[in-house]
């Protein structure tokens, strides 16, 4: 299973290395074309004096330019495919990239889960879970005492909540703790 995941990640990394510019260019140009059409349907208010002075002008200009830039970058990407193929990561570099991919993925996912849990479990609990989890899995550890991680996590989470509540008058989400502590 682990091997399969690694193989999948390495093929993603290689494909990204080869075709990232083309994909990005095409995506940007495509999305801009759709939004350009969307912009042409925007309401023009009666206040507008010339076509320059309407809600359509800046979006249309921007998306128009983005279509051109997207195509240019895709074409540049096609030109570079062969050069990219020569610098394709392999061996140790590829292994390091696979670890990097996993770590970045864990980092994003854990932040997303943290935000999701914030309104449900309360900021205090979600932050403690997030902090402890990330301290162990987000980066390579320098190896401080386990106790330290827990103390830091609890201190940061609780003090953030109370400092913001007392002094800045911002109530961070309490989730199911509502009524219990605040």
């Amino acid at each position: 299973m682990a091997k399969r995941i690694d193989a999948l990640i390495s093929s993603i990394i290689c494909a990204f290395h080869l075709y990232s510019d083309i994909v990005m260019g095409v995506l940007v140009a495509g999305a801009s074309a759709l939004l350009y059409v969307n912009a042409s349907h925007l309401k023009i208010s009666s206040q507008s004096i010339t076509s320059l002075d309407s809600a359509q002008f800046v979006p249309k200009l921007t998306f128009g330019i983005l279509i051109v830039l997207g195509i240019i970058i895709a074409l540049q990407g096609i030109k570079k495919i062969n050069a990219n193929r020569e610098t394709l990561p392999s061996g140790d570099v590829l292994a390091a990239s696979i670890i990097g991919f996993k770590r970045s993925f864990i980092a994003v996912l854990s932040i997303a889960i943290f935000i999701f849990l914030m309104t449900r479990l309360s900021f205090i609990i979600a932050a403690i879970i997030y902090l402890v989890f990330s301290m162990y899995y987000m980066v390579e550890r320098r190896g401080w005492k386990h106790k330290t991680y827990f103390i830091v996590a609890i201190t940061i989470s609780v003090s953030c909540y109370y400092l913001f509540d007392r002094f800045i008058y911002v109530k961070l989400p309490l989730g199911f703790l509502k009524g219990v502590i605040g």
């Binding site: 010339t50 970058i73 970045s104 980066v139 550890r141 401080w144």
Partner: protein, 504 residues
């Protein structure tokens, strides 16, 4: 001058000095922590000032402002995350220098030139305030449009190796800025039925996401050994970490950057967040060795830090003389001043001259306190490097999340943080410059609003863009920059590759 000394004397009581000291320290902390801003620091202490006299509260509020503007350099240099938008350009050279094992030197340069920049801006403010204030009344949307347009072209011209990618990033930023209600007529654009998007993406969470979250996502990959490089040189550096000779060598950069900072700070709506970027580019363009910028040289830090602090002096002019705040923190200050009975506006210098000079004096005393705090605090600040990344990064993310939530008290801004973090991560992976994106995002709205205002004001005529001298000059400069960029970055390389092919 007597009025200024009078203001200073009135401030020099033990209580005031303690208040200013506390204000500067808190300001620096708020400035240094990504996601917390000097605006927030002022907001936080506003209730505290209700129990103080007018003099005392002004001393405290000004101290928070000064500390907050300067504090951003600490995290910009140490962890490559600008504490506020005002110190984005500090990361370009400050962090590389810290990575080369000279964190102390980088901080020393930042602190010293922050101080000098503040003094420069204040000096100009005190002597030129009346003249500049009367001039500011004549500025119209035409000038604002031309200025923001020029700023946009300046940034695109230094977008790194591939000009098209820089432009793409910049226009993506503008595209994001069009989400929500259009300026002037309030037509709703690209919200796809989402009510939260009506006001567009909030700037603060977007910028924090793009710099803080992205930076951490990019850094989690690095092995432990990456932490250790800065250890060697720390012990034998004394003082600020640079010599008098080096400092004098920066005189030209300092004057260029501080002048830009003061002028940009003076223009309402611009402020230090734009000043540091424009000054960085200007110093790079006038430098004898522009290719060294971004590798960790002194000039880059000098440009960014002297300009953002010089913008304080500039921003105080329209704030006091016209009652127009230049940016977030000055808007908070204006509100705070009003609560204490100071009515800002053209009559202020006549009706409450003593308070004006008290504020001037407080600004100067606070910048002295700032340099003392940061000078002796550097040792403590550099210690922050010893905190292992496995603790630092999650804590930074947590504070960013709290900061994003606190901007508007809603969860949408927190998701904005994550979305822009992801966007920034992909942009970094496909080598799209993030700074260009953020500038497009900030300036997009300004350009559009002022363009439309200008067109409405002239009833659809374009003549004012040509006949108004300041507008015309700014637009000509913008066109020259575009032509030069096209020449240097597109036509020249094409010719070179053709000739090299022919010779081969």
């Amino acid at each position: 001058m007597t009025a200024l000394i009078g203001g200073a004397v009135a401030l020099l009581t033990a209580k005031n000095i303690i208040l200013m000291f506390v204000g500067v320290v808190v300001g620096i902390l708020f400035g240094a922590i990504p996601g917390l801003s000097s605006t927030m620091a002022i907001a936080l202490f506003l209730p505290v000032t209700f129990g103080l006299s007018t003099y005392e509260s002004f001393a405290l509020l000004v101290a928070l402002y000064i500390g907050g503007v300067s504090g951003g350099l600490v995290s910009a240099i140490l962890i490559n995350i600008p504490g506020s938008a005002m110190s984005i350009a500090t990361t370009y050279d400050g962090h590389p220098m810290a990575k080369n094992g000279q964190a102390h030197r980088a901080l020393g340069i930042g602190v010293m030139f922050s101080f000098l920049g503040t003094v420069f801006g204040l000096a100009i403010m005190i002597f030129a305030a009346p003249v500049l204030a009367s001039f500011a009344i004549t500025l119209q949307p035409f000038e604002y449009f031309a200025l923001s347009f020029m700023a946009l072209t300046l940034i695109a011209s230094v977008s790194g190796q591939n000009i098209f990618k820089g432009l793409l990033a910049g226009f993506l930023g503008i595209a994001f800025s069009t989400i929500g209600m259009a300026p002037i007529d309030g037509v709703v654009r690209f919200t796809f039925g989402n009510i939260q998007l009506m006001n567009g993406f909030t700037l603060l969470p977007a910028v924090i996401g793009m710099f803080a979250v992205t930076e951490i996502m990019l850094n989690v990959v690095k092995p432990i050994s990456a932490d250790k490089i800065d250890q060697q040189e720390r012990e034998h550096i004394k003082g600020f970490g640079f010599s008098m000779k080096e400092m004098l060598g920066q005189a030209k950069n300092f004057i260029v950057a501080s002048t830009i900072g003061t002028v940009v700070g003076f223009l309402p709506g611009m402020g230090g967040s734009l000043a540091n970027q424009v000054a960085y580019v200007a110093v790079q363009k006038t430098s004898k060795h522009p290719e060294k910028f971004g590798t960790g040289i002194m000039d880059g830090i000098v440009a960014s830090e002297s300009s953002n602090n010089a913008s304080i002096g500039g921003a105080m002019i329209p704030l006091l003389a016209l009652g127009i705040p230049g940016d977030g923190p000055t808007a908070m200050l204006l509100g705070a001043f009003m609560i204490h009975g100071l009515v800002a506006g053209p009559m202020l210098f006549k009706t409450s001259g003593d308070l004006v000079y008290l504020i001037f004096a407080a600004l100067i005393i606070c910048s002295v306190i700032m340099v003392v705090v940061e000078f002796y605090g550097i040792r403590l600040i550099v210690k922050a490097l010893d905190v292992p990344r496995e603790i630092l990064y999650p804590v930074v993310i947590t504070i960013c999340v709290v900061g994003a939530y606190a901007t508007n008290n809603n969860m949408f801004d927190v998701w904005t943080l994550l979305v822009f973090g992801l966007l920034g991560f992909f942009m970094a992976k496909v080598k799209l410059p993030r700074a260009c994106f953020v500038l497009g995002f900030v300036l997009g709205t300004l350009v559009e609003t002022n363009l439309r205002r200008a067109v409405q004001l002239s009833r659809g005529s374009f003549m004012p863009f040509v006949t108004r001298p300041i507008t015309a000059v700014l637009l000509v400069v913008a066109i020259i920059i575009i032509i030069r960029t096209v020449w240097v970055q597109i036509i020249k390389p094409m010719r070179n590759s053709k000739t090299s092919k022919e010779s081969a």
